[in-house]
Amino acid sequence: MTPTLLRREPPETPAEASSRRLTERVFRIRETGIVVVLALFVAVTAGVQHRFLSDSNIQFVLVNTTIYALLALGETMVVISRNVDLSVGSVLGMSAYLSANLFGEHPGIPIPLVFLVGLGIGAGWGIVNGLVVAGGRVPSLVVTLASLYIIRGVDILIVGGGMVTANTLPGGFTGIPKATVAGIPDLAIAVAVVIAAGAYYLRSYRSGRELYAIGSNPEAARLAGIPIGKRVLFAFAVSGAIAGVAGVLWAAQYGTVDSTAGTSYELTVITAVVVGGVAIFGGSGSVVGAALGALLLSTINSALYVLGISDFWIQAIFGFMLLLAITIDRIISVKLTEALRLRSNHGGT
C-alpha cells in the first residue's frame, strides 16, 4: 500500500484507480479474515462448552487482551517503519516491578502518578532503543535483542530475589482490571479508545503516514525529505512508553511481581501484530488489525483452557500461527503484485 504523502495529487488514470481499489480490497480482506476466524473460533468453542460465553469469561478474555493489545499498538508503529522492538516484555517487567514497588516505598502515593512513573520508565528505554537504532545505524533486531536481555538483567539486579506481593498494593489499584461498565471492563473501553486514537494518528496524521512511507521504501522516504531518524525514534519511544504503562497494568492485574514479569511477551506481541496483518517487512498494516490479532490470541488461549487442553500447547500454536500468517501474507502479496502488473499492462496498451 502506497501512502499518500503529497497534498495535491495528479488526477488518477483509470488503471491507477482500479489498481488502488484492488489493493484496498485485498487489505480489507485481511482484516475481515481475522474477524471471520475469530467468530468461527468463538462459535465452535461456545458450541462445545457453553461456559465460554459466560459474562465472567468474556470479561476475563477482554482484560487479558488489553495488555497485549496495548503492546501490539506500540509494536505496530515500530514494525510499520520496518523495524522491530523485541524489548517490550523486559520493559513491561521492569516497569511492573518498579511501579508496584512504589506503593510499598511511598504508602498513599496517587495511582495516576504511578502510571506516569511507568510511562516514564518505558519511554526512557524506548528512547534509548530509538537513539541507538536511528543514531547508531544498527539494525533494530540486534539493538532490541541486546536491550531485551540488558533491561531484563538490570531488572534482575534491581529486584534481586525480592518480589512485590498483592497485599502491599492498594485496593483502588488492584481493582482497576475488575471495574466494569454494563458488563464491559473499564480497562477494555479505555484501551479501545487508545487504539482508536492510535489508528487515527497512523491513518490521518502526516507523521503517521510517514512511518508507512519509511517502511515501504526507506530510500524513497529519505529522498522525499522525511526525517527518518526522528520518526523511527518516535515510534520506539511510543512503543517503550506503552510497554511501561502496560507494566503498571500488569502489576494491577496480577498483584505479585518479581523479576520474571512479562518474560517472552515480545513473542506473543509480535505474533499478534503479524497475525493482525501488519507486514513484517514494514509499510503496511493497521493498529486495529493488530488489536484484533491480540484479541484472537487471547481468545484461543482462553478457549484451550475452557476446552481442557493443556496450556503447554499454546506456545506451539502461536508459533505456528505466526508462520502461517507471514506465509499467507507473502502469498497474497506475490499474487497482488502479479495482478497489478497484469492490470497495468492492460492499461498501458
Binding site: V84, V132, G136, R137, V138, P139, L141, V142, V143, L145, A146, S147, L148, Y149, I150, R152, G153, V154, I156, L157, G160, S259, S264, L267, I270, T271, V274, I280, F281, S310, F312, W313, I314, Q315, A316, I317, F318, G319, F320, L322, L323, I326, T327, R330, I331, V334
Partner: protein, 365 residues
C-alpha cells in the same frame, strides 16, 4: 590502498600518513581479529594477575563446560549471518532436541535410535527455516522468531512440566568429564567445538561453497547472476544449523543430566553476541571463523571474570547484550567518523585535499 606499497614511496608526514604507512605495510594489524586477539590476551593477563586460578586446567575446563554448547552453535550461525540471514531459533532447537531426548529415553528407546531421531528432527527444523526463507521468500528474522516460538512450544508439548534425569552415567559423563589425556583441561564440548571450527573454517575459507556464502551475503542478486545456487546453499546452511544445534542440545542435556522444557531459553543472545563480537558483519558478506573462535575466547573470558566477582549470574544478559551492542558499534566506527567529518566543517577542511574538493564540485550538475 594496496598492501604491497613500498614504504619508501609513502611521503613522510605527521600523524595520519604514518598510520597509513603502517596500514599499507601490515594490513593484518588493522583487522578486527587483530584487535580482538589483543583483547583476548589482555583478558588473559588481567585474569591471571587477578586470580591464580584463571589459567589453571581446572578453570579452563569450567570455561569449556559453561560455554561449549553456545560456542558450537556459533559456528553454523556464523555461516548463516555471513550469507545475509539470521537464525534466532537455535536456542529452541537445542531445547526441542533436549526434550526429545528426555521424552524418548523415558519411553525406553535405545540411545542410538534417539540420536537418529534427533538428527532427523534437527535437519527438519532447519529445513523448515530454510524453505520458508528461500522458497516462500520470507525474511529470516520473522521466520526464525516464529520457529523460536514453535520449537520451544514443541519442547513444552513433549515434556510439559516433567523432568527426565535418569540418563545412564556413560552418557552424562561425556557432559561433565574431561577428555582423557588432556590434563583435565578439555571438555568433550571443547573438543567437538575445535573439530567443528576447523571443518567450518575450511569450508568457509577454502572451498567454492565458502566463497559463495560470502558472495551471497555481500550481494544476493550478484551472487544469483553469477550462477550461485543461493537458495539451495542457504537452505543447507539452515539445515546444518538445525543439526548442529540439536546435538548441542544432546550435549546440554548430558551436561546437566536433565531434560526440561525450558532448557536453552535465551541462549540465542549469547550465540549472536559471540558471532558479532567475532567480527562478523550483521549485514552479511564479512567475517571469519578465526574471528569467531577469538570471539568465543573473549566472551568466555569475560563471563569467567564476572564469575570470579560477586556479579549476579542471572543478570549476565547485561554483559552479553552490552558486548553485542559494542561490537556492532565497533564495526560501524569508521562510518561514524566519516559522518562526523561530513557534519563538522573544521574536520572536513583538514581531511579533504583540494583534489577531493574538485571531485565533489565536479559531481554537482
Amino acid at each position: 590502498m594496496a598492501p604491497d606499497v613500498d614504504l619508501a614511496a609513502v611521503p613522510p608526514g605527521p600523524g595520519p600518513s604514518g598510520l597509513e604507512a603502517l596500514r599499507a605495510r601490515a594490513p593484518w594489524a588493522f583487522r578486527w581479529e587483530a584487535g580482538l586477539a589483543l583483547i583476548v590476551v589482555i583478558i588473559g593477563i588481567i585474569g591471571t594477575a587477578a586470580s591464580p586460578e584463571f589459567l589453571t586446567s581446572n578453570n579452563l575446563f569450567n570455561l569449556g563446560l559453561s560455554n561449549g554448547e553456545i560456542a558450537i552453535m556459533a559456528l553454523p550461525m556464523t555461516l548463516i549471518i555471513i550469507s545475509g540471514e539470521i537464525d534466532l531459533s537455535v536456542s529452541s532447537t537445542l531445547g526441542m532436541a533436549s526434550c526429545l531426548l528426555g521424552f524418548l529415553w523415558a519411553r525406553g528407546w535405545p540411545m542410538i535410535a534417539i540420536f537418529v531421531v534427533i538428527a532427523l528432527v534437527g535437519l527438519a527444523a532447519g529445513a523448515l527455516n530454510g524453505l520458508l526463507v528461500t522458497r516462500v521468500g520470507l525474511p529470516s528474522l520473522a521466520v526464525t522468531i516464529g520457529t523460536l516460538t514453535l520449537y520451544a512450544g514443541v519442547a513444552e508439548i513433549l515434556l510439559g512440566p516433567n523432568t527426565v534425569s535418569n540418563f545412564p552415567a556413560a552418557y552424562t559423563n561425556l557432559g561433565v568429564n574431561a577428555v582423557p589425556g588432556t590434563g583435565g583441561a578439555i571438555t568433550y564440548s571443547t573438543l567437538i567445538f575445535a573439530v567443528l571450527a576447523v571443518i567450518f573454517g575450511v569450508v568457509l575459507h577454502a572451498t567454492p561453497v565458502g566463497r559463495s556464502i560470502f558472495a551471497m551475503g555481500a550481494s544476493p542478486e550478484a551472487a544469483l547472476y553469477a550462477g550461485i545456487r543461493v537458495k539451495r546453499i542457504k537452505t543447507l546452511l539452515f539445515m546444518v544449523s538445525g543439526l548442529v544445534c540439536s546435538f548441542a542440545g544432546v550435549l546440554y542435556t548430558f551436561r546437566l543430566s536433565t531434560a526440561v522444557a525450558n532448557n536453552g531459553v535465551g541462549l540465542e543472545l549469547d550465540v549472536v553476541a559471540i558471532v558479532l563480537v567475532g567480527g562478523i558483519s550483521i549485514f552479511g558478506g564479512q567475517g571469519s571463523i578465526p574471528g569467531v573462535v577469538l570471539g568465543v575466547l573473549a566472551f568466555a573470558g569475560i563471563q569467567n571474570a564476572l564469575l570470579l566477582t560477586n556479579f549476579n549470574q542471572e543478570a549476565s544478559g547485561v554483559v552479553a547484550g552490552g558486548l553485542l551492542l559494542l561490537s556492532v558499534f565497533g564495526r560501524n566506527a569508521a562510518s561514524y567518523a566519516s559522518r562526523l567529518r561530513a557534519r563538522v566543517p573544521a574536520l572536513r577542511r583538514r581531511t579533504e585535499g583540494p583534489a577531493a574538493g574538485q571531485a565533489a564540485a565536479g559531481s554537482q550538475p
